[in-house]
Symmetry: C2
Amino acid sequence: MQQLVTELLQGNRRAAARLISLVENDDPQKRELLKDLYPHTGNAYVIGVTGAPGSGKSSLVDWLLKLMRKDGLKVGVIAVDPTSPFSGGAILGDRIRMQDHALDQDIFIRSMGTRGSLGGLSRATREAIQVMDAFGKDIVLIETVGVGQSEIDIVRTADSTLVVLTPAGGDSVQTIKAGIMEIADVFAVNKSDLPGSDRTVTEVNMMLDMKKSKEWRPPVIPTVSLINEGIDQLWEALQEHRRYMEESGRLLDIRRERVGRELTEQVEYLVKSSIWNQVKEEIELESLVEKIVHRRQDPYSAAADLLDKINFYGQEAEEGD
Amino acid sequence: MQQLVTELLQGNRRAAARLISLVENDDPQKRELLKDLYPHTGNAYVIGVTGAPGSGKSSLVDWLLKLMRKDGLKVGVIAVDPTSPFSGGAILGDRIRMQDHALDQDIFIRSMGTRGSLGGLSRATREAIQVMDAFGKDIVLIETVGVGQSEIDIVRTADSTLVVLTPAGGDSVQTIKAGIMEIADVFAVNKSDLPGSDRTVTEVNMMLDMKKSKEWRPPVIPTVSLINEGIDQLWEALQEHRRYMEESGRLLDIRRERVGRELTEQVEYLVKSSIWNQVKEEIELESLVEKIVHRRQDPYSAAADLLDKINFYGQEAEEGD
């Protein structure tokens, strides 16, 4: 297993793919591996891209990839579909894209699906970013399908977030989800050759202007991914946001927050494993469940009793409630 | 606060609304209240209804409500939208529906949005079911917009799950999400007056027949909610599934599983609060975060160190790894 880490650090693609599969499958050994990778991370800049299905997100990403490569940047792409249980390149469009970039050793594309739980997916995404970071990628692009809270959670891992909209046609952009407006650092109004594009750009700008002024005001860039229009400006806007993040100290702030959350999760993981190991040894859980099912006890006091039994609170009860 | 529980048990609607708001806002007092409610729960049968936006789910639910009321059943409806941060009846369609049933004291409709986290939403939904159960509802209908894993998690709380499809038109139903097929106990093919309806019904039936035989084979019911067609058969199918669940013992099985998960969550909640109270007293978290941000330590070993410092593992280290 240790071998995998060495190979990854040497730039072995198969090792990278293998490690991402391990984190995706929540392999028991992944913790040890991520620990070894950790000192080699911190270089990659993470860009999140989200937007409704059919907004042309993927082709925008493809154009951005080309510009990033032109700038000599090594790029990892994680395509996350919270609505799909499939992963590992099972998405058709993704396979095609992988072929497209197959000859470029400095692009690494990987897709991920839910495999059962959303919490698991956002964790696996964060860990896959760590793998790509240690693998030497300068940029990690996370592309998610925009269907609500799930993809907002995932995009929160990003240092910069690009939200892809399309012209609203007859509709007003008022229907843009509230959460989406708040996570965007840069907007693209893609398919801006369609009718209603100007209105959409204007309306989004108005919505942004109505907000209390923040240090960074997200730009709204019209693009037509089909004919590579506006992509240069989009890439420029993303780079500008990165400069702002770095120079203002915001980047360090959000990374501190992230480390804080990560530490919390790791502590809770260790605590939970330890407690359940003890409980399994000492407590007859089934009879407790039976009591609760038949309303002879409630789950809240049963939980407290259980912790008493394994003497979790120690001699002197530290928690009264 | 205790007053609220008494009022709820007396059938006070405002108390029910208030209690659901408390669980939705994750109020610190909710635990105590849910504990008091618990002995009064266990009567309600929970039916989940899911389907893509525009499948006519809500009007199907409205017709089902009428049949349930005709059978003398008291019904609670929780309309969950994982894509919306809004709740408490903020959804327009929902307000209209509430007016529609406003005079019927035995129907209680409530909508819920994400308010920040999906995990929070599925927990709040489960707790709202408890409130409606203690409130004396015989049936609790959970209606969710079908957009992926998030609504599957929510529907898992149900005793019976109705999945609403629409005729696929030119498309094959092969595109039905894998997860959706697995959670369905009853299928409705709504808008079955549209072209392609027969084919959709046939294809879903074929997909179901290809599966390894389970004890319960989900029926596929064509409906036209616009003109109240097929709703009687749908309600009959749902009742039949309930009889199957009760007579086969499956209902008790899944309720046992749910209680087990609930107990686990409550134990982990208590453990986490206790640990963090201790940590906050004893550890300088900020300097630890700083070390990790600058890669002088990794979060995995930092978490283990932290637990050592608060002497979590006791004198004799019980966990070696």
